[in-house]
């Protein structure tokens, strides 16, 4: 009963409940931002605490089904960091929409718990429950702006589609259980290592691939992403783009690196085809987007494609490339979404056309957009370039030169549509000359995320070392 393994989850839950209870006791608390500040302080303390937690393969809770290894801890820290940024962004975002902001912050904590459970789960039941907890909280957060039709519709779409995909996932899991009689990763992989393949194994793999693919927005299962990202409130879209996708990836990594390591011949060709589709469709449709949130949705789909390159590389270095890329992906996306939040606060909608003349109205915001979008595009001073270099090198190393070339070609298309946004941002004059007002918390988020993007870009040394150490410990 090693309590330190679940300490982060417990902390998150306790803070979440605390906020709800305060909201019930002091009605004024519900409508004020203090809940948010409490949340942020709580998360910060959790983040600091997480660095002192022991993390190794032997760190298991009751039995081997809930483990706190380096990989899990890394992702947990990532989720907490994302949660901090999201809460900071939502402080001012919610003012016009709802009175009871307290519950909103509490919900972010429950989503965080869901993610953390997924990160540490070593067997499918816990993984599934963590997945559902995270999804349902996100559904609630997406539909939070009740009076906005878009938010409601996004919520509906998200819950129904995620229910369908988890139905498929469950069917796959049931087949898996049928074939091996076990549901924990180690057990299943030991049974599979005996190597008896039957058609149902193929079914199980495909259904798992589609279930998890839904979470990381792999192409045929990505259709929900643009609509939900556009419908949801901007901080939640950011949390979805960063948190939920990263959680999807940790599940993906654990399942496909450990459980199905024997059946690469089956799932690798499928994964490659889907990655090619993701790269193509993610980048091509992003070209034609006019609204920023939808644009960033497609850009996040494209980035899922690049990260999958690391999975296809299927090696230690591939995994470390994924971890490094997720770090810079987090900071770049947070920066971009913080910018969109500021835009929505000031202009009310998120059209790319609204960005014209931003250089004059708010030079600070245009610099932040510049840095974040450059990192997403993978242009050197920012971290994006090193991330892409690391991923592509590893893909070529494993012999997928054509795939790396395709990814490179698609990242050129990506640079085109990022430049289109930068172009509107940096030029042109806008008739309203009143300058943007950016609340302090949002400004802080932007500075930290853009700052980190530059730091990782200019001095990637320590970060690649962390990624490599974790990857070595996991594989």
């Amino acid at each position: 009963m090693n309590i330190s393994v679940v300490s982060l989850e417990l902390a998150a839950l306790s803070i979440g409940f605390l906020i709800i209870i305060f909201g019930l006791i002091f009605p004024s608390f519900r409508s004020s931002k203090t809940g948010g500040y409490l949340a942020i302080i709580g998360l910060l303390s959790m983040l600091i605490g997480s660095f002192f937690l022991p993390a190794s393969n032997t760190q298991t809770f009751i039995n081997a089904f809930y483990v706190q290894d380096d990989l899990a801890l890394f992702f947990k820290q990532l989720f907490i960091l994302a949660a901090i940024f999201i809460n900071a962004m939502s402080l001012h975002y919610l003012k016009p929409y709802t009175k009871n902001k307290g519950d909103y912050f509490a919900l972010t904590f429950f989503a965080l718990t869901g993610m953390m459970v997924m990160a540490s789960a070593a067997e499918f039941i816990t993984l599934y429950i963590g997945l559902e907890l995270m999804t349902f909280t996100f559904v609630l957060l997406t539909a939070y702006k009740k009076q906005d039709l878009k938010s409601g519709e996004a919520g509906l779409k998200y819950i129904l589609l995620s229910a369908i995909s988890s139905g498929v996932l469950l069917y796959g899991l049931s087949l898996l259980y049928g074939l091996t009689g076990k549901l924990d990763f180690a057990g299943i992989s030991s049974v599979f290592s005996l190597g008896a393949t039957s058609p149902l194994v193929v079914w199980a793999i495909i259904m798992l691939l589609s279930g998890l693919g839904f979470k990381i927005a792999l192409v045929p299962f990505h259709m929900w992403t643009p609509d939900v990202y556009e419908g949801a409130p901007t901080p939640i879209t950011a949390f979805l783009a960063v948190g939920s996708k990263a959680a999807g990836f940790i599940a993906f990594i654990r399942v496909f690196f450990h459980v199905f390591s024997v059946y690469t011949s089956i799932f690798m060709p499928l994964l490659i085809t889907l990655t090619v589709l993701t790269l193509l469709i993610g980048n091509l449709i992003a070209l034609a987007q006019t609204h920023l949130k939808r644009f960033l949705a497609y850009s996040s789909i494209a980035h899922a494609g690049y990260i999958l390159l690391g999975v296809i590389a299927y090696s230690k270095l591939g995994l470390s490339a994924i971890l490094f890329y997720l770090m810079l992906y987090l900071f770049a996306n947070i920066g971009a979404f913080a910018g969109v939040t500021a835009l929505v606060i000031n202009t009310g909608h998120d059209r790319i056309a609204d960005l014209t003349g931003l250089w004059k109205r708010s030079p600070f915001l245009s610099v932040i957009f510049l840095i974040s979008l450059l990192s997403l595009a993978g242009i050197p001073p920012t971290a994006g370039f090193i991330g892409k270099f690391y991923l592509f090198t590893e893909a070529i190393h494993q012999g997928y030169l054509w795939l790396a070339a395709l990814a490179l070609g698609m990242s050129l298309v990506a640079i085109y549509y990022y430049l289109m946004v930068l172009r509107t941002l940096l030029s042109g004059t806008n008739e309203e000359t009143k300058s943007f007002i950016i609340p302090f918390s949002l400004r802080l988020v932007m500075i930290v995320s853009a700052g980190m993007t530059l730091v990782i870009g200019i001095w990637p040394g320590p970060f690649t070392d962390i990624a490599l150490r974790i990857a070595q410990s996991f594989l």
């Binding site: 589609l161 995909s165 193929v202 793999i205 495909i206 299962f221 259709m223 034609a288």
Partner: protein
Amino acid sequence: MDQFAWLIPTLPLAAFLIIVALTYRFKLLSAIVATSFSLGSLILAISILIQKIQNPKTTETFINWLTITANQQTVLTLQMGYLIDPLAAVMCLIVTLIATLVLLYSIGYMKGDEGFSRYFAYISLFTFSMLGLVISNNYFQTFVFWELVGLCSYLLIGFWFFKPEAADASKKAFITNRWADFGFLVGIIGLFTVFGSFNFTELSAVIGLHQNTLVLLILGLLVFLGPMGKSAMFPFHVWLPDAMEGPTPISALIHAATMVAAGIYLVARGYILFASVDSVMIVIAYIGGFTALFAATIALVQRDIKRILAFSTLSQLGYMMMALGVGSMTSGMFHLTTHAFFKALLFLGAGSIIHAVHDQDIFNMGGLVKKMPITVWTFVIGSLALSGIFPLAGFWSKDEILTVTLQHHFTGLFILGTLVAFLTAFYMFRLIFIALFGDKRSNHHAHESSWTMTLPLLILAILSIVAGLVNTPWFYQWTGMSFSTFLFFKEPEIPVIHWSIAGLSSLAALGGIFVAWIIYAKQHISADKLAERFKGAHTLLLNKYYIDELYGWVFNKGMIGLGKVFNFIDHTLIDGFFDGTATLIRSTGIQLRLFQTGRLQQYALVLFVAIAAMTIWGVR
């Protein structure tokens, strides 16, 4: 004295720099600076010539201007230095003498022109580059100054840039020269690649060993392209008549005496290269001969005084090239020297006529003999010298060339030479009878030019008379040496007169004068009826065999057309291809975007269809 040889070109350069930097605003001061510095380098040239006459050994010193080393050994060295031998000494004298006289003459001629000091700066720059070319000791340095001389001719022809014809003429001159220099450059680089050095002495040592090889033939022809451009041999002659757009002293200095002579000088300097391949010599001889005849025929019908002199220069250059081609460097150089004097005289004379009459068409002149006696009579002396009448310089040098052509068994060229002598005499005296004597045709009020213009005329007239004697047998007995013993290729030749040839050529010249006298002075045979009878030939000659139009057509239709084709390829094909792919990608993006219809069940359908497809593939 030789160690001061590098001073000869640097003096005019210093003059150029002083004018440009300091005295640009003071017109007269810059003229004085230019003339005095040129005079200085003339004195230096004379002293070096005298010293060279005493002991004719060649001295050469140079510095390594640029060296490229590969793996510690030098792979390429470009030298800058000077090589003084009789040939260079003579050329230095001609250039500095004519330059000083032209500068003196120009003070009067250019008075009142707003670009006065710019004019003198350009001339000093020209003298610098010409002298640099003359004393250079290797092909690289020659090529460098060769280009600079081309530049100065461009600047000076286009001196009155507000005249569109002048601008066109200067561009035409420069580009035609560039076409020729292209061959010259390839030739030099070929020489370096094959023989390993640019230096004249080293090259002549190496080339001496080879005889009549194909490589030498190609390189010889390529290098000869340069002189063809500069000395306006047949295909590259088009720029010289148009170069008359520039001020007349310039035509005298550059397009009569010095620059056009650079081609002949270069052939003389690198004579071993050409002499070692017989077929190259034949080519040179026949090109020279043909150009002489070709230019002489055109000169017959020209109306503009400067155009006539230009074509006569062309014809005389052809003569010199023929002499070199035939095999005698000495006679070629001798004719170059004498020709420099009387042709400069004729041009300056024409200049003072134009200055007085303000018109260049000979049919609007006439009756000038009373108004401008010095100019007219010096002009007549020049024409006599040019036609090769007995005591004057032209007789000796032309006779020398004709004897040499006969000696080297080029009988065809000998006949052609005498015919050209007849034509030369005819068109020169046609000009004299129409423009100078006869009745006054237009209401011009001519007056004699000032002393600054007439003094050079007189000096040149004296030289035209005296210069020929240098290579006469009597002079050889009297002083023990002559032009041909001083400046020769391999071994000196003793001057000797072959009265039969001399007689024949004088007869031709006198005949030419007589016929001109009949048609134009006495009008027994009217020129117009003659022109009527040979209508076709007359118009052909008047339009200079339509070569200008041919080149114009080739350039406008050919070059511009090709440019348009390439521009089309660039704009529509290449741009079309790249922009096309960009728009293609963008339109696929737009189409794919519409696939996202927003209906929830369509998303679910895609999900299940994808699963079905994957299982069909997976379970096979």
